[in-house]
């Protein structure tokens, strides 16, 4: 078999597949951020903590109430979403008339609090969560665990579903209109504040959903979101802040690029995204899929 710059092709395909799995997480997380930013103009720094909460709620549901993974996949995002709604109603709402930066700072503080509380309760070692889909498929060039395949599928469904609702339905058109002219939409009898609250809840629920998906792959640990969030920010910026489709496509794309980096220069795999982000911002500041405002 031929070799590509010294890399056997099965390894290359393997890494690309894995990149796609990581990209699935990036896509769901950055989608949530993009939805929130697009509608609320808030950079949700708590996103990582909410992702972590999703995983922990799944863990608690399993160990305390005996609810299996499939139940958590539905329940945990709802619970995380409710917490998000509470945050929006009591705190975030008060900052809309101010600079975006305050939203970022508030959610940064909240992230510290949430992560601190979980660390206090559970320590940092991480809790195990058994895979609901053991076994895997032999793809020839690699062994793909069933569960990882499911992650890619689940994330695709959720991402495309969200995109469809926002871009192609009546509800979505209300949302988009509310971003442009909240006063007008309000005047047409739509309850804009409620819509904003629910949107934040939905964005946060996406983070919780990603968290549940992550539980069987990574350990359930209080710091699982803290390092991820910075990367996901970069993804959103590259895609174009607030662009739904941009966040989804960029999420998958960067997962794959990261996978490639792991083959050629593994030490740089956690930095490559930031290099791309700087380049994109310089050449196309509105992001790959964003529109200049």
């Amino acid at each position: 078999m031929f070799e590509l710059i010294g890399v056997p092709p099965q390894m290359l395909f393997g890494q690309l597949t894995l990149g796609l799995v990581n990209g699935a997480f990036y896509a769901v997380l950055s989608l949530g951020l993009a939805v929130i930013f697009g509608l609320l103009n808030v950079i949700n720094f708590t996103h990582g903590a909410q992702y972590m909460m999703g995983a922990f709620i799944a863990y608690i549901l399993l160990t305390v109430l005996g609810i299996p993974f499939w139940g958590s996949l539905l329940l945990a995002p709802i619970l995380v979403g409710i917490v998000g709604i509470a945050i929006e109603r009591t705190m975030l709402r008060k900052l809309y008339h101010l600079d975006h930066l305050y939203g970022l700072l508030l959610t940064f503080g909240l992230a510290l609090v949430i992560e601190g509380l979980f660390r206090n309760q559970y320590g940092v070692s991480g809790q195990p969560y058994a895979s609901p889909l053991p076994g895997g498929y032999n793809l020839g060039f690699m062994f793909l665990p069933k569960y990882r395949g499911f992650v890619v599928l689940a994330s695709l469904v959720v991402c495309l579903g969200t995109w469809f609702v926002i871009e192609r339905t009546k509800l979505g058109s209300y949302l988009r209109a509310a971003v442009e002219r909240p006063d007008l939409v309000q005047a047409f009898g739509v309850n804009v504040p409620l819509m904003i609250t629910l949107t934040y809840g939905f964005g946060v629920a996406l983070a919780g959903f990603a968290g549940v998906l992550a539980a069987p792959i990574y350990q359930v640990s209080p710091m699982m979101g803290a390092n991820l969030i910075i990367v996901v920010f970069a993804v959103v910026v590259i895609g174009g802040m607030g662009s739904i489709l941009g966040a989804i496509i960029t999420g998958y794309m960067l997962g794959i690029i990261e996978g490639l980096t792991r083959v050629f220069y593994p030490e740089a795999s956690s930095t490559v995204i930031f290099v791309i982000m700087a380049i994109v911002l310089l050449i196309r500041p509105q992001g790959l899929f964003g529109t200049a405002k």
């Binding site: 940092v124 058994a130 665990p145 569960y147 990882r148 593994p266 030490e267 795999s269």
Partner: protein, 400 residues
């Protein structure tokens, strides 16, 4: 004979009278990770062990007033050295114990030498503490990278694991572990076919595992620690690495890590430790008391090491009647043989290395285990004389 005994007795009484008149004040600082990656295997459990040691030693009856303070170094050398500096300069701390995380331990090592205090590390891994960075004020107690490499690496090569691929945490500790293990592997006729370094801390190791898989090596050596190791092992099981014929060698693993992974994924792992709670009745009794106060956890070897090292330190202080001169206390510790209920008899070598047996354990399968924390089968005991790096090979300036 009789008169001699009498004399001993008299002098003992005189000594006791003298000490109770000028009670010796000792302040011990336990500096470790209270909130991060290593807080479960060190953390408050180590503080508990230090307190227990003071109590069991009967310090108060012997005229030694021991005060224990503790702090979190967050695994950052700058935080650790700031705390240590304040302890030494301001708070009158005489000795610092535990200190996991090699980078922090190296910083404390320097500071302790400079202030002529005592540093006894149970949690740190780097063998440089008794090698190129050795100091007359430092004792390295429980384990080090060399002993892990020697125990695990050798055992595996000798049972046929000849070709190795390393997944290494990309920082000093990982490099040291990889270096020490490669040396052992090659010495015993194995070969290293490749290595990949991952960012620290990492979360997704699947792509590194994939590289290890395509290298075709028999053994995948994990030169990382804590959460990184836990994740690597879990993901290896997910990708069916072991089923497809390769074996994992976790080079640094603690019982708390096994607990986090769960027996399903951890079974069959082979690694080296200095102490296991279920090895004998004394250990079990100690662990029961520990469990009661520490959320049902069992003590790790690091926590047991803190207990053992505090006992020996107090012995030296008692003998000297003072804790003021750090180098003198450490010299006394090297002079006295060690003997305590958890680590048995041993010695502290010239270079500051504490010598004792090490053990090669294999993780039980879920069927073999009787429940939580029943995790290890003993595969082999590595006698003290072979368990640590030979005295003249570390490049320590104290050895001539």
């Amino acid at each position: 004979m009789v008169s001699r005994k009498l004399l001993y007795g008299l002098s003992a009484i005189a000594f006791m009278a003298a000490t109770s008149a000028h009670a010796v004040d000792v302040k011990i600082g336990v500096l470790n990770d209270q909130s991060g990656l290593y807080s479960d295997l060190t953390g408050m459990g180590s503080v508990w062990a230090a307190r227990k040691a003071v109590e069991d030693f009967g310090a108060a009856d012997k005229g030694i007033n021991v005060e224990i303070v503790f702090a979190d170094h967050q695994n950052k050398p700058d935080v650790g050295s700031t705390v240590a500096r304040q302890w030494y300069d301001q708070d009158g701390v005489d000795a610092i114990f535990d200190v996991p995380t090699s980078s922090v331990a190296l910083a404390i090592n320097e500071l302790t030498r400079d202030r002529n205090k005592v540093f006894i590390s149970s949690g740190a891994a780097t063998s440089d503490l008794t090698g190129s960075a050795c100091s007359p004020n430092t004792v390295h107690w429980t384990y080090d990278t060399w002993s892990l490499a020697n125990g695990t690496g050798r055992a595996i090569v000798e049972t046929g694991g000849k070709s190795w691929f390393f997944i290494t945490a990309d920082y000093a500790f990982g490099h040291a572990l990889e270096r020490d293990t490669s040396a052992v592997v090659e010495e015993f006729g194995g070969e290293v076919v490749g290595t990949v370094r991952h960012p620290f801390p990492g979360s997704d190791f699947s792509s590194f595992l994939l590289q290890a898989q395509s290298s075709g090596a028999q053994i995948i050596g994990l030169a990382n620690a804590g959460g990184d190791t836990v994740n690597t092992v879990k993901q290896a099981s997910e990708f069916g690495i072991v089923q497809s014929g390769q074996n994992l060698a976790a080079l640094l693993m603690f019982i708390t890590d096994v607990h986090a992974i769960g027996l399903n994924d951890a079974q069959g792992l082979i690694f080296t430790e200095a102490w296991y709670w279920d090895a004998n009745d004394t250990n079990r009794e100690f662990s029961e008391a520990f469990s009661a106060d520490n959320r049902g956890n069992k003590p790790s070897m690091v926590q047991a090491g803190v207990y053992s090292s505090v006992i020996h330190y107090l012995k030296a202080v008692e003998e000297l009647g003072s804790a003021d001169d750090g180098a003198a206390v450490v010299a006394k510790m090297k002079e006295l043989p060690t003997d305590d209920k958890l680590f048995g008899q041993g010695e502290v070598r010239q270079d500051g290395r504490k010598i004792h047996d090490m053990y090669l354990f294999e993780v039980k399968s879920p069927d073999e285990s009787s429940g939580a924390w029943d995790y290890y089968n003993l595969r082999a005991t590595i006698p003290a004389a072979e368990a640590f790096r030979p005295l003249n090979e570390g490049g320590c300036s104290l050895v001539n």
